[in-house]
């Protein structure tokens, strides 16, 4: 790939990131329910992550072994972080109802 082609690719990804971010800001001002908002923001964040990692950080040019190692490791870590959600709902519900376990 020539330098000019490389820059064209980077510019295209940059414009795509700008558009996605602008859409996120527009969504932020809409009166959308919290859980729906999270789903939309997370979807856009995942798309942005793929664009940045594979184009701006050039992960795609590494060996298949390293790409697999990186993706499996990161997906596992980020997925297991979501283990906390049930407890946050527990705190929220108990506080609102005033119910305490005996």
């Amino acid at each position: 790939m020539t330098t000019a082609e490389g820059m064209k690719k980077y510019l295209a990804v940059y414009v795509a990131l700008l558009i996605i971010t602008a859409v996120q800001f527009v969504i932020g001002y809409q009166n959308i329910e919290g859980s729906q908002l999270i789903v939309r923001f997370l979807t856009f964040a995942v798309i942005e992550t793929i664009l940045v990692i594979f184009f701006f950080m050039n992960l795609g040019s590494e060996t298949p072994g390293f790409i697999k190692f990186f993706i499996y490791f990161m997906v596992f870590v980020l997925a297991t972080m979501n283990y906390i959600w049930t407890d946050s709902f527990r705190l929220l519900v108990f506080r609102l109802t005033g119910y305490m376990p005996t």
Binding site: F25, V77, N82, W85
Partner: protein
């Protein structure tokens, strides 16, 4: 044991495992650092989201997103200018690479100043680590810790970029070192894109 066998044993290298991650060791170290930093930031975002979700009447204090939008634009643009520096460095165009690195560093400085401005605005409204005018005390601590951690990365990263540019100009660093720094800069730009939605966009005043 035959003479031929002894000779082979003396000269042949021991069998080695195939190398799955063929890349320069410095680059591998940078990827490992980024992976560990992903865990730190993910823990921060998870902790923030936990507190926000578990707290009824979480404040929505942000009336205008202009400052945050400009900060995001600067961060994204500095990611592009860093890539331009990398492309120039790979093409061995040193003056151009240094120029783009300095543009990127300028973006980092402006971002840091706008971030401090954002914090000053919050402080003027009475938001501290343990108190805020809207109720839940955890808001200030959660806000300052997650945005502060990002600010620390970007401000220290900006200083590091200036050092990289100086050393690259002096010949101590090569295009490979610029590539390493590009990995870090793209990473902190990406982190900012993960911080804006939960911290700012989900707390727009309605």
């Amino acid at each position: 044991m035959s003479e031929a066998h002894l000779s082979m044993g003396a000269h042949s290298a021991p069998p080695m495992e195939a190398r799955p991650f063929v890349m320069p060791s410095k680059k591998f170290a940078m990827w490992l650092f980024i992976m560990s930093d992903v865990m730190t930031f993910a823990a921060c975002v998870a902790a923030y989201s936990f507190v926000r979700n578990a707290t009824p009447q979480w404040p929505r204090p942000f009336h205008s997103m202009t400052n945050v939008a400009v900060m995001t634009l600067i961060m994204l643009t500095s990611s592009l200018t860093m890539l331009m520096a990398l492309v120039a460095a790979k093409a061995e165009d040193k003056p151009r690479a240094i120029r783009w690195m300095l543009f990127t560093a300028a973006g980092g400085v402006v971002f840091t100043l706008l971030h401090i401005r954002d914090w000053m605005g919050m402080m003027n409204q009475g938001v501290s680590l343990s108190h805020n005018p809207w109720g839940p005390a955890a808001f200030g601590a959660a806000f300052y810790s997650i945005t502060g951690f990002s600010l620390l990365h970007i401000s220290v990263g900006t200083l590091a970029l200036i050092v990289v540019a100086i050393r690259y100009k002096g010949g101590r660093y090569t295009a490979d070192d610029v590539e390493l720094f590009n990995l870090f800069w793209q990473f902190i730009g990406l982190v900012w894109l993960f911080i804006v939605p939960p911290v700012y966009l989900m707390n727009v005043a309605r």
